[in-house]
Amino acid sequence: MTNDGARFVPDDFGHAAARLAVAQLCDATEFHGATASALDAFADVAVRDLLDLGRIAESHADRTQCTVFDTIRSMEDLEAPRAFASAGGIREIINFFESAADKISFAQPISNFWVV
């Protein structure tokens, strides 16, 4: 459907969540400030990276849901250097998947989408 010339509004919620996530990453690596454009660019890169990771994992899966092994293969395809730097890299990823909820808590509670 056409929006009859009305301004296209990007996903405010998704962008705000991405900014919050990268701000947490910056805070964890002891950055205390950044320019607005740098933060936006970082959030954009992070979102694109996640989208690519998910898309490739899904293409490897050939199932309705991806497993940890599909994610590892997608990282391999994206040539993520940190994933396989050490001998126990894959084990670390599996452990992270198993206990991700306990290890990292998000700065703000993210509510589910409302269903009318």
């Binding site: 705000a16 454009s37 989408f113």
Partner: protein, 526 residues
Amino acid sequence: MSFVPKETIEVIAQSIGITNLSSDVALSLAPDLEYRIREIMQESVKCMRHSKRTFLTTEDVDTALALRNLEPIYGFTSNDPPRFKRAAGHKDLFYIDDKDVDIKDIVEAPLPKAPLDTSITSHWLAIEGVQPAIPENAPVEAPSEIRKSEFKEDGLPVDVKLPVKHLITRELQLYYEKITDLTLKKPGSIPFRRALVSLSADSGLHPLVPYFTFFVADEVARNLNNLAVLFALMRLVRSLLQNSQIHIELYLHQLMPPIITCIVAKRIGNRLSDEHWELRNFSANLVTSICQRFGHIYHNLQPRVMKTFLHSFLDPTKALPQHYGAIKGIEALGSRLIRLLILPNLEPEKQENEMKRHEAWQVYGALLGAAGQCVHEKVKTFGNLFSPPTQVTSRGSGKSVIAMPGKRKASTVNLMQQQQLPPMKKLVTDGTGGAVPMNSMSVDMQGSTGGYSSMMGVSSMSMARQISNDNVPGRDIGDQQRKVSSTLAQAWKDDIDAGNLVSSVVELFGESVLPFVPNPEAYMFL
């Protein structure tokens, strides 16, 4: 000449650390830059159009860059557009105001409201043709930017609302054009009949109803000399009325004037041979069906229609076809209105003009039909009174007694009631004790009216007897007497009215009215 000046190239060069760029290089780079920008923008516009949008987004530009195997530009997905500021001391130099933000502030800032998940819901677009004021529907008022505030001479502001466009689909437009074309050009054809069937049965025609009503009103005014088109228009209206899927009552104010015009117009058709009488009858029946269907919704509908007909009927300056239409209109609305409006206003009139003789006969026929219908209804109401007698025994010249078998003797209450019976009734006593047996009653058969009135007495008396025999315990005889007397008075009034009605109609129309009397009841006139 490139729209990118060489200064822009120099500024871009400085921003990436090239300080010694010559003017010639900048001049030659400018057209190439313009070409690349145009190429990317054309691809972006293609992406926008394929997405069925009319507004270009950063996603379209990113897709265009990806199609050219170029790195996307990051950081422009934010809803906040970049703010350009003018450089101090430079008239045409701008820079992006890129503020420093504190990481802690961003981490602690609350997230915006979570959006709705993609889902399908239903809501009422309109209920009975009225748009409900809910968030899903656009506001009924015109938006503020198109509402102009004007001032009258006295200085008071006046809100001028621009008309709202009523959009209908191309298919409905074609349908409307086809129907109107058939109505005007081929009113008697088979496709037109099929079109009428479609109009009377198809759902989804509600958006076209205002257009059809306007079309009918417009064409009736324009084609008063074309009988075929008028008939086609009335048939179109009938089909719309028959369609249960559309709410025609919302447009009755537009539809009634053309229909009534077809009933009481002074002249319809341009030839003497035109059978406009049939059109008037047809339109009168349409008005009746409208009044029957929507009279309870619009309480002033029937009175207004009736007023119009009565005005045409009573006005002596109106032409005979107008009188005919008015009579037919009132007749179609029911026998009660005939009795109230037509019969009290009947006067014999002699028509010398040979040209108008035919019209006068038509009016006479309409009056006869109306009066006959009224008589028929009234006689049917008192049908049990006119059933042929079971035993008739002679009691002298011109008198006969109708024996009513199975009736009981009168009680004391009956005797009390005898004093209230009208003096017209002739009762025969059996000579034993002054009591009147209810199984015998004399009827004067010398005149039809007399016989009618006398027979009506049976109804009143038998009614009195039925009431008197219902002895309800706990009620005194005075209450019963009052109740019986009021019932009798009403019954007797109805009887007298019926008798007067029949006699007056017979006086006016003579034997012509007899065919309207149902067969079992006709013996009373013999």
